[in-house]
Amino acid sequence: MSNRGTEPVAVDDVRGDADRSATERAEQEGLEAGSSRGGRVWELLSSSVGRNLGLLVGLALLCVVGFATAGERFLSESNLITVLLLASVIGVVSVGMTFVITGGGIDLSVGAIVALSSIWCTTLSVQATGRDVGWLTMAFSALAVGAVCGLINGTLIAYGGVVPFVATLAMLASARGYAEILSNRRTQIVDVPGFTDALNARPLGVPMLVVIFLVVAALGWVLLNRTTFGRRTVAVGGNPEAARLAGINVKRHTVLLYVLLGMCCGIAALMIVARTTTGSSTHGGGYELDAIAAVVIGGTLIAGGRGTIVGTVLGVLIFTTLTNVFTLNDRSTSEQALIKGVIIVVAVLLQQRLAERKVAKT
């Protein structure tokens, strides 16, 4: 599609008439000038930079708690790497989830897709080709399985008219079931040495999995903020009807979003396979909720139309740091789950208050 046809008109002609309502303009400008100082803090907090700042403060507070309760154990380099490693797998899934949620959808099947991809890329035959041809074939098969699952999700939702919640719920059940069938419910051990060596390498002392997470997050940021794909995602999530009437192929875009998330699940599957040296139909348990929670506290609107990769990354880090602080202090995971729920509610309530204030102002 090119910009052929008529040139934009010489719109300067229009302006003569417009000056008539200069008073109206003055009124509107007067309106925006009057924001009080107290309002300014809220305003900052409700801007995107401010929201991320809020999350950073939250993360910093957690770190203070971590340092206060666990001291050097918390701040040591090796512990920070442990936190990042824990964040990596779920982080990659959450980055993909950010796109789907921003685009107005939801995906409950991510954990199951991770399981299926991990099983698929560790089957004997795939591992055999991995040994013969190179371990990249395993990576490819995991990505392909993730992409196909996403394609099925997306097609059902966009073209079949199935509600995302239901379509992905179906995928959640079937993908894990299929993974169990493929693996006969047994854990499949990886014995392609190149694979685990490559993914567990530590270039410059940073574990490969962390590098992958950071790369995926960076690519995700660029894709969401600096490309037409990202812009369309926001448009589709913000107002699908308006996006459709603006000429965006909403259905195709929706499919692409789920495929993208599926591929993120494939990457996450590779990471968990490398971390555990196994593929298993039990991998990825609860990822859907962890990913959605991280995305939501990060500041992405659950209804779509606004998304932030930085926020998602911070959201993931907040949850994993919380886990780490709890582990260092010998606290049970049940207490952790309780706190996690509180954090989600507080974060969302805070965001809603900010949104309301913003609307009230206009």
Binding site: L86, T187, R275, S280, T333
Partner: protein
């Protein structure tokens, strides 16, 4: 894998249980030990100077989520065992079924340079790599219940005898149905994907083979009450006439018994598994279908802590001549019936 040879297991208390090396948890001779003390109720191992306070040490412990009576008892008895020693600080990173998180817990222990790690992995294969890392970092790992796939990943492995459980259950059923080779035998397994379930089923089948019986119907529950109830209903629907049932797990057995009651079926007798206090009371009462259960000790974690302490303090097991702690400790799986239930009921776990 190391299989226990087939042999009669009915003379439970009599044969002192050194199948590989029976340790503490069967508490076989100590009927006085109460359930409060069960974490360290090992009369035979607690002798000598080993229990005397030694160097201060930190032991890390990680296990799957306590979503099951047996698993809850593992963590509880482990804590209790550690509390007995004033030289042991136990760091409990308990409670996850997510391997990624469990790996990071172990990584945290390595970062903390603990003196030993007692690890009951959610999935032995998935935790092997990080256990190897711990061993390479010079931290002895005591692998509990679910085995790693690399012998170098653990200094000591404490195992229940899953295969032996199946054998015990099978042999008990054989003894009850001796002259009736046409009897219908059913099996209610746990989670099929777990190697322990596969081992139990294999032992059961092998034992039945010896007396000419076979498994006529088999369903898998998932170690939960709901799962037990549901799969038992299906089983009873499918089999109008059953003579004997082995249920792998007494926790899911609560659901199994509920299903039998509501389907109004009692033409058979049932053998349980794991040995919960519930099941033992049922056996004690003698009027239900549950006639026996096979013990799978929930004190493995506690033994793990004891062994970890010995290792870290460079002590040996004083009842053995050997100067080092053995590589593998396998617990015995005795059959509990109405006759001997009094001996076991105090160490049973509450589900």
């Amino acid at each position: 894998m190391n299989r226990t040879p087939l042999r009669t297991r009915l003379g439970v208390g009599a044969v002192a249980g050194l199948s590989c090396l029976a340790l503490t948890a069967c508490a076989s001779n100590d009927t006085s030990s109460s359930s409060e003390e069960k974490g360290s109720s090992s009369a035979n191992a607690a002798s000598g100077s080993n229990d005397e306070s030694g160097d201060k040490l930190v032991i890390g412990f990680s296990a799957p989520a306590a979503d099951h009576g047996w698993m809850a008892s593992i963590t509880e008895s482990t804590r209790k065992a550690a509390e007995k020693y004033d030289d042991v600080e136990l760091r409990v990173a308990e409670g996850t079924n997510e391997v990624n998180l469990q790996i990071s817990q172990v990584e945290t222990f390595i970062n903390d340079k603990v003196d030993a790690i007692v690890l009951l992995p959610f999935d032995g294969d998935a935790l092997t790599r990080v256990a190897l890392q711990a061993m390479e970092a010079g931290i002895p790992v005591i692998n509990v219940d679910r085995e790693f796939n690399d012998p170098n990943a653990a200094r000591v492995t404490v195992l229940g005898d899953n295969y032996g459980m199946g054998v015990s259950a099978g042999q008990y059923i054989c003894s009850q149905l001796e002259d009736e080779p046409d009897s219908v035998v059913a099996e209610i397994a746990g989670i099929d994907s777990l190697p322990l379930t596969q081992d139990r089923s294999k032992g059961f089948k092998d034992a039945l083979d010896e007396c000419g019986l076979d498994v006529d119907a088999r369903v898998a529950a998932d170690f939960t009450v709901e799962g037990g109830e549901e799969s038992t209903r299906n089983l009873l629907q499918a089999q109008p006439e059953i003579d004997a049932i082995w249920n792998h797990d007494d926790d899911q057995g609560v659901g199994v018994l509920a299903a039998m009651k509501s389907e109004d079926r009692d033409e058979f007798f049932m053998v349980g598994g794991a040995g919960s206090a519930n099941a033992m009371r049922e056996i004690q009462s003698g009027d239900g279908v549950l006639k026996a259960t096979v013990v799978y000790p929930s004190t493995q974690g506690a033994d793990g802590v004891k062994l970890a302490r010995l290792l870290a303090q460079e002590k040996a097991m004083s009842d053995l001549v050997e100067v080092e702690v053995p590589r593998e400790v396998q617990l015995y799986a005795p059959v509990v019936t109405e006759e001997n239930v009094d001996k076991y009921i105090d160490t049973a776990f509450e589900s």
